[in-house]
Symmetry: C2
Subunit: 251 residues, 2 copies
């Protein structure tokens, strides 16, 4: 029996990513965290601050994956519309979450008090739970398999930390890297043949140019530690036979 592969999708929300002003850091951060939870990030969509576009992406992805995450648009200003968009996608009203309100009252007690803008961050689609955020008070939001998180990467990190170990996943995807000071186009046959001979493994090839020399890192991925080790051994042996200057562990 093949073990279930748990998958997640991520919706990155924000005009600042699509304009090129802000370099996204959440895709890699969420992807790496999901790997450790035994969940595979299967698709990402980046959408603008537009209620319909956000709702469309959420509805396209929430039923086709085990989990859906969003980053961005849960702050206090007029361009923070993720909660409204997700509520719209699910046909739910937006309500003030009493515990979120209490958290924000405490947080802002010494910072000028709760105003209308700050109270926006206590709004949730009806029935939602909170994801704690020790950094800035304002919580993330969990509703069924949907997780709404901050756009600022170090706040997102806090929310992921709070979720660690709470989501059911499968065997984590394991990776090993083998580096080679040679153009990937000279060892393409080796890569393809070794991958074909190891059904539970995939090999990715990532070329680089460094110190005036061409090389590539080959990343072997598998959920089975024994298959992974066997594939790495076979690859190193094949590269060695071809008298390649390779390095287990990558370059």
């Amino acid at each position: 029996m093949t073990a279930k592969i748990w998958t997640a999708a991520l919706v990155v929300i924000g005009d600042e990513i699509l304009s090129g002003r802000t370099h996204d850091k959440n895709i890699a951060q969420v992807a790496s965290w999901l790997q450790v939870q035994g969940i595979r990030l299967a698709e990402v969509r980046v959408v603008p601050d537009d209620e319909d576009k956000i709702a469309e992406a959420v509805n396209a992805l929430r039923t086709t994956h085990d989990y859906l995450f969003t980053t961005g648009g849960i702050g206090p200003t007029h361009d923070d519309i993720t909660v409204d968009a997700v509520a719209k996608a699910l046909g739910l009203p937006v309500v003030v979450h009493p515990e979120a309100r209490r958290i924000l009252e405490n947080y802002y007690a010494t910072r000028g008090g709760l105003n209308d803008a700050r109270l926006r961050m206590a709004r949730v689609p009806e029935g939602a739970d909170l994801i704690p955020n020790r950094m800035s008070g304002a919580p993330g939001i969990k509703l069924g398999n949907i997780h709404l998180m901050a756009g600022v990467p170090h706040i997102t990190a806090q929310m992921l930390d709070a979720l660690t170990g709470t989501l059911e996943g499968g065997a984590p995807l394991l990776t090993e890297t083998v580096g080679c000071w040679t153009p990937e186009s000279e060892v393409a046959d080796i890569l393809r043949e070794v991958e074909q001979a190891h059904a539970n493994c995939s090999i990715g090839s990532y070329p680089f140019f460094r110190d005036g020399k061409v090389g590539a890192n080959f990343v072997i991925r598998s959920t089975d530690p024994a298959d992974l080790a066997s594939c790495v051994d076979t690859l190193c042996e094949a590269l060695g036979d071809a008298e390649r200057d390779f390095t287990p562990g990558g370059i």
Copy 2:
């Protein structure tokens, strides 16, 4: 009459992005380049090295936007399947492009010669043109409104450079930034009201934490220089009236 807004979508292809191993740099690079061409990046999808997933994303986006770009998966190894996936999406056969073959023969003449793996990089969906790449020989591919580019960011940059000025676009989106050493939640009303008073402008609010202090940058976007200047003036005036420590140009 409202001027046409030209839009583009980007499909980022690669298991290495979805695993978190590689931090994507192409979204910001393509977005910034498109801005200068007067084309707005409207949506991004990140998909794995899977022919069906790539084809699905290409077909979902190529007709809903003026232009479609892809990055990744056009190299010489077995995991480079973008050409096959796009050909499948369009119902076209894959052929060897004679000019691409000639370029690769020249490039590899002093680098060990053309082999089967390297010849993969001359394969295109039938009817495609080439996008020059001075960096590594292997060209990008242009087919109607679809542009297939490299995944390695500095090669992508070469291909974008070769495309500069060749795509029809509208007025470039202009931006100005105003920074403020204050929590965005204290000036949320000002931001909303100023945006509402300037129909052709949008204001994004991007909080930060620096040197132990909280601040935010407000990015004003418009295709009309006069509207943009007027909106910036109004915003600075409103922040000044609120006795905020603000900085035109951003912090």
